[in-house]
């Protein structure tokens, strides 16, 4: 990391002479104003546009200065390419190469380097203090066999950008060791400690962020393309690996300082200030150690990220749709154009809702599906795609009415037995032994639906139910529920109208139903249910 090497020690040796960030901003603004007309000629008409443009170029220079493999700096020609991109993407300006080269010259040389003249900031205070600033350094390097000047962010530039906090979080992570080093050089241990604490916070957030991304991939592997995932992995791995080694270097240096101070202490010439510094350095050391641990954890998390993407890609691609549908285009608009589809709107909403199993204080039913036979190969049903949707829906509706009627028939038989029994009480297991209709119910799906409905009900207020009867047309009702089933039974068996309540309770013991579905054989195990008809208390 080259930026750290260029830090002007003199400024940090005398921290009191450092300018606050707003003064740096003000100085930069003055330099921009001097070139305002030139910038305007390139299409940057307002002060805001000009400031924003220069700021984006500074961010670019900072990134390039921190770049691991190409730390030499940026030539004006290279900056021109970036300027062309910024002008186009951020400001909608189409500048040709020559214009970009000129703009690069104006911003980097004329503004940020003040055309090579020292940038002197006068505070205007009584002591007439003035401070020299430097936003960029410009070393000479050899490129393509010739000497050329390149530009790198200098410490005042770093401080300005850091002060604005307008940078990506991961860049703050990579720049942190520079700030800690600066504080340590200036023996500002309080500042160094504060920065290590902030770095720990950033690292925790980063680790959490990577873990969140891993979870996102589990949900949808396509949320990161292979390129994005690889790039994120490589970029971050490099950055955290480098930061870790930089932190290790700082920690070594802190350890030496601690050892020196301890030596002083043993020799008995430790003053109060050094003692306080020793304590702070101890804390800094602890925080640096923790930061290094967090960076190692992040590196592990990055490996998990890539591994998860690879494994999830293989497992999800068979089940997830590559195309994302739209609520408006794929659901709402077709629904509006085809009123018949309103009947199947619930199917699309199906993933949204989950039955609440909490409100059942005494679970009547415990379904235990035990598969004891391997599932045979699935057979696909032929479906004529051209078949009219309306016709299909009508067929489905009729089939459903038949199914509901079959469930009603079983319940009606149960109610008939219940009404004629002496105590008006009967268990499901007793009913099963003598029932004719229950045995005829061959569809496992219907049986499960019916039993599940029975198990959900605790008490039905029959008087209230009969009051609602005129509003209900059972002949077209595709819903199956115990109250409707009772109404249906009462139409055939008038005696059922003289009861006030139907009570359904969990009973001792279990019932097992052997079922077979799509070639699979399994047991449906459930708690027995006790049904009771109660008359009104006179």
């Amino acid at each position: 990391m080259k930026g750290g090497k260029d830090m002007q020690d003199s400024i940090y040796m005398d921290a009191q002479d450092r300018l606050p960030v707003y003064a740096l901003q003000s100085q930069l603004q003055t330099l921009i104003l001097k070139k305002s007309r030139t910038l305007s000629d390139f299409g940057l008409k307002t002060e805001n546009q000009q400031t924003w443009f220069v700021f984006l170029v500074m961010l670019y220079l900072m990134r390039q200065t921190l770049e691991v493999n190409d730390g030499d700096g940026v030539s004006l020609e290279e900056a021109a390419w970036q300027i062309q991109d910024i002008a186009k993407t951020q400001f909608g300006l189409s500048l040709n190469r020559e214009q970009c080269a000129q703009l690069s010259q104006t911003i980097i040389v004329d503004i940020l380097c003040n055309s090579g003249a020292p940038i002197q900031y006068r505070t205007g205070t009584r002591d007439e203090k003035s401070v020299l600033l430097m936003f960029l350094n410009s070393p000479t390097v050899e490129r393509g066999g010739r000497q050329t000047g390149v530009y790198r962010m200098a410490d005042d530039g770093f401080r300005l950008i850091i002060g604005t906090r307008e940078m990506e979080e991961n860049m703050k992570v990579s720049i942190s060791h520079i700030i800690i080093s600066m504080h340590m050089q200036a023996k500002n241990y309080g500042g160094a400690l504060q920065e290590t604490k902030e770095q720990i916070d950033r690292l925790r957030i980063e680790e959490n962020h990577i873990r969140e991304n891993i979870n996102q991939i589990r949900s949808d592997v396509l949320s990161f393309s292979k390129e994005e995932a690889d790039s994120m992995f490589e970029k971050n791995l490099k950055m955290f690996d480098l930061s870790r080694s930089k932190f290790q270097e700082i920690r070594q240096s802190v350890s030496h300082s601690i050892a020196d101070a301890r030596k002083q202490m043993e020799e008995g010439d430790l003053d109060a200030q050094t003692a306080q510094s020793l304590q702070l350095m101890g804390e800094i050391d602890d925080h640096l150690q923790y930061s290094i641990t967090l960076m190692s954890r992040i590196i592990d998390a990055l490996s998990d990220f890539l591994k998860t993407r690879r494994t999830e890609f293989l497992s999800q691609m068979g089940t997830r749709s590559v195309r994302t549908c739209s609520v408006l285009k794929d659901l709402y608009e077709p629904m509006i154009r085809n009123p018949a589809s309103l009947e199947i709107l619930n199917e699309f909403l199906h993933p949204l809702f989950v039955r609440d199993i909490r409100p059942i204080p005494e679970p009547h039913l415990f379904l235990e599906v035990r598969q004891y036979q391997e599932k045979p190969e699935e057979t696909s049903l032929d479906f004529d795609e051209e078949e009219d949707l309306m016709e299909v829906m009508e067929i489905q509706r009729r089939q459903r009415l038949e199914e509901v009627a079959a469930m009603h028939a079983v319940f009606a038989e149960f109610m008939m037995m219940l009404s004629i029994s002496g105590t008006h009480t009967m268990r499901l297991s007793q009913f099963r032994e003598s029932s004719r209709t229950l045995g005829q119910m061959t569809s496992p799906r219907l049986l499960k639906e019916m039993l599940a409905s029975w198990s959900m009900v605790k008490k039905v207020d029959l008087a209230e139910l009969f009051q609602q009867e005129p509003e209900l047309d059972l002949a077209v009702e595709t819903l199956y529920s115990v109250p409707l089933s009772y109404l249906n039974a009462a139409r055939e068996n008038e005696s059922l109208r003289y009861f006030r309540y139907l009570v359904m309770e969990k009973a001792e013991g279990k019932i097992r139903f052997p079922l077979e579905e799509d070639g699979r054989k399994y047991w449906l195990n459930m708690d027995d249910i006790l049904l009771r008809l109660e008359r009104s208390v006179l």
Binding site: N215, R218, S219, C325, S326, Y332, R337, P339, A340, Q468
Partner: protein, 226 residues
């Protein structure tokens, strides 16, 4: 905590948020995650893994955890006519359209939806749908009936079922029970909860529903051309 216990808890709670011990346990153990997925598959469910939470999503075939049309009627209005039930489901659809547009797919496009705005949107959309229905000449009157039901609801600001607000509130309460939205009483605002964002995301990208979406579009084209 075994994967079976985790599955049972997930059935009870419907979600594990990131602060829960269950979420952390699953994040830390790949075997538990696999076990949970297998159990979910056996119970005709799918596990929705999202950034800050884990959800259980019943598959279409799952009629025990999921809601069939009769189940929805049971929750939304036991004595609802077909038009009333359709209207309640249409209100849910309008809420989804209001929050999730085509471009952003799953990110909400507004922070909240005023109840009064929802009522206006539903009325406007129904009116338009009823007009299209009438022009289509298919003989269908579903939207026209729904529009009449909607306009027939009393404008009184009461919670009785015959009032417009009461009718809407029943739908809103159901969505609240499902942890999909929250309703701010004093501001009359509907706000989505993370579970709805995630489940809409699933709904729009599930292979299971992709076929149904295609069929729906095909059906709409046929109806329109017919």
């Amino acid at each position: 905590m075994s994967d079976k216990e985790l599955f049972y808890l997930l059935l009870q709670k419907r979600q594990f948020t990131e602060t829960s011990a269950e979420f952390r346990a699953l994040m830390e153990d790949e075997n538990k995650r696999k076990g949970l997925e297998e159990l979910a598959a056996a119970f005709e469910c799918r596990i929705g893994w999202y950034k800050n939470a884990i959800y259980i999503i019943p598959l279409q075939s799952n009629e025990y955890l999921g809601f069939s049309r009769p189940d929805l009627r049971e929750k939304l209005g036991k004595t609802d006519t077909a038009s009333q039930l359709n209207l309640r489901l249409f209100i849910i659809l309008t809420i989804l359209v209001s929050f999730y547009d085509a471009q952003t797919s799953t990110r909400t496009v507004r922070p909240f939806l005023q109840l009064s705005q929802l009522m206006q949107d539903v009325a406007a959309r129904l009116k338009e749908a009823a007009r299209l229905e009438e022009e289509s000449g298919t003989g269908s009157i579903s939207y026209q009936e729904m529009y009449q039901v909607h306009e027939g609801l009393s404008g009184k600001d009461s919670t009785s079922q015959s009032s417009k607000k009461g009718f809407y509130m029943r739908v809103i309460r159901f969505l609240q029970e499902q942890n999909l939205i929250t309703y701010l009483q004093t501001e009359n605002q509907i706000r989505t909860l993370p579970m709805l964002d995630c489940k809409v995301d699933y709904m729009l990208r599930s292979e299971e529903l992709a076929v149904r979406f295609t069929e729906l579009k095909g059906g709409a084209q046929n109806a329109h051309s017919g």
